[in-house]
Subunit: 314 residues, 2 copies
């Protein structure tokens, strides 16, 4: 059973669109590509640790967002597949490092022992480092399949999503916030960087695989920002309401680590309402994007993914 994607309210935002079938097709391409690109021939066990970190797990939300955005702009599918995998590698490396003892010290991830538990801390550190480099390697093939302009744009977007203005910066705020009472604005800024930047970056990388009017790119950026934040709000909700077995990772750890969350700040009901408001915002951005003209519903996958992000149960 494919448990990675379980759309529940697809009908509401993308009538007639079958996200399960769409995801199935696209996930198969992503899994095959990841398996062939995350190499076994890396030396001294490094390849094993890299593959363990990446393969066989995860919702693959970032790859799906890249591919859905590429579809929305009728972009270059080969470039998008590379960008999809690159975004997933950045995500995977961040989890490996985040799980290390000096960070969250977590032993369970996607229902399996974390990378450092399985391979040791040093190898986990290196595997994360190598995955980040591999992401940029995937974006820069020298086989003539992807134009230099698209390669450069993808590297630009990914580097900014991953670095100090994005994911790594958000992690630093997270680190500094344990035990502190954050305002909602501070919490939002932390998540905008920590999780939102790479989700939004995934959408924008998909858009960069095609030729798009500036206004449409801006709309896709708004969509990405809204679902990026919604993703974290829902994560905070699930950390409280779901159990470890369903999540495939340790539930309740935010509260245990005294981390500020949307639930601790807004309460459960207001957090749920906020997630729904962000979904509406994401869909409104797509409405305004101008991409669904001439009777073509190009944004249907993006719409259904937004639904899935907000209404998932794991």
């Amino acid at each position: 059973m494919d448990t990675r994607v379980r759309p529940q309210v697809v009908a509401r935002s993308a009538p007639g669109f079958d996200l399960r079938a769409w995801s199935g097709t696209h996930l198969e391409r992503v899994e095959q590509a990841l398996s062939s690109w995350v190499v076994m021939d890396a030396p001294a066990g490094l390849g094993d640790a890299m593959r363990y970190a990446v393969l066989d797990g995860g919702k693959r939300l970032r790859p799906l967002l890249v591919l859905a955005a590429c579809e929305a702009v009728n972009g270059h599918t080969g470039a998008a597949l590379r960008a999809a995998c690159a975004a997933e590698l950045i995500h995977a490396y961040s989890l490996v490092h985040d799980d290390l003892p000096c960070m969250d010290n977590d032993v369970l991830r996607r229902g399996k022992p974390t990378v450092h538990v399985r391979f040791g801390e040093a190898q986990a550190l290196l595997a994360g480092d190598a995955l980040q480099a591999l992401a940029f390697e995937l974006l820069t093939p020298d086989d003539g399949t992807v134009s230099a302009a698209v390669q450069a744009a993808l590297c630009r977007l990914l580097a900014r999503s991953a670095g100090y203005q994005g994911m790594a910066g958000g992690q630093a705020i997270d680190l500094a916030s344990v035990g502190l009472a954050l305002s909602e604005a501070q919490l939002r800024e932390m998540h905008r960087l920590k999780t939102g930047a790479l989700l939004q970056g995934s959408v924008l990388m998909g858009a960069a695989c095609g030729v798009v009017p500036v206004a449409a790119t801006a709309a896709l950026g708004e969509y990405g920002a809204a679902i990026g934040l919604a993703f974290q709000v829902v994560d905070d909700i699930l950390d409280v309401t779901a159990d470890s077995a369903t999540l495939g990772k340790t539930a309740g750890k935010d509260a245990a680590q005294d981390k500020p969350t949307y639930v601790s700040l807004l309460g459960l009901e207001r957090s749920r309402a906020y997630a729904q408001a962000l979904l509406a915002q994401a869909l409104a951005a797509l409405d305004a994007s101008g991409l669904d003209t001439n009777g073509q519903a190009r944004t249907h996958a993006l719409r259904a993914l937004a639904d899935m992000v907000v209404n998932r149960d794991k």
Copy 2:
């Protein structure tokens, strides 16, 4: 006193060329660029840790190699300055991670407490991660100053130098080799990846800033491979013959950690002879490159840097 570069036998390989003056000019540009690009506005102390890791220290050998190679091919100096800084960021991040307790557990680097001693392990981990991303960010400006083709080529070279086929792969072999009796071939392979790949990559990035015949690029690659290996042989020699105060890092740590080195494998005298042979090889590659035609000694800085690598005392 500028103690970073002390050429000693410049006259031999690049007659009449003043490496000290050349380096002084170029290092000033590199330091200014690093200081402006390694940002203070990264959140929650991350910027402080990043700057601490990068600024105010190091021989800056990789940046100098990029700039010297760019000069040899009469390339785009703006692109080369970005590539020079990007290579240094990758080097700096690798030192931060390499010094962590789960790796070499070192407390002294460039005469100062290591990043995790000063900022904590978690922040050091994040600073390293963010520096790697920043390297690719520097290579992909969107201000029109560097062509997309050069941006893509630089990202391609840097990612391969840093990743599983390069530095990270070499680190993994290093990790797996402690206490083992390596053959010379195995030791060479480890260093070719661990240190050599980024040094060679720096030379090739400099070359990618210009338009070069394939044969010249190949010759520069040979030069880079030779000095990359020579660098490590000399490092092994200095680990035995120099003291911590001169090195600015803990001397004798290879032996203390029971790591295989050229000195432990070949002895001191044969290691010294090997380093000189590699220098000769590097210079021969430049002779064959065809870059010094029409009475123009374009490779003089590369020659003098090769001398410095082999004949340095720290």
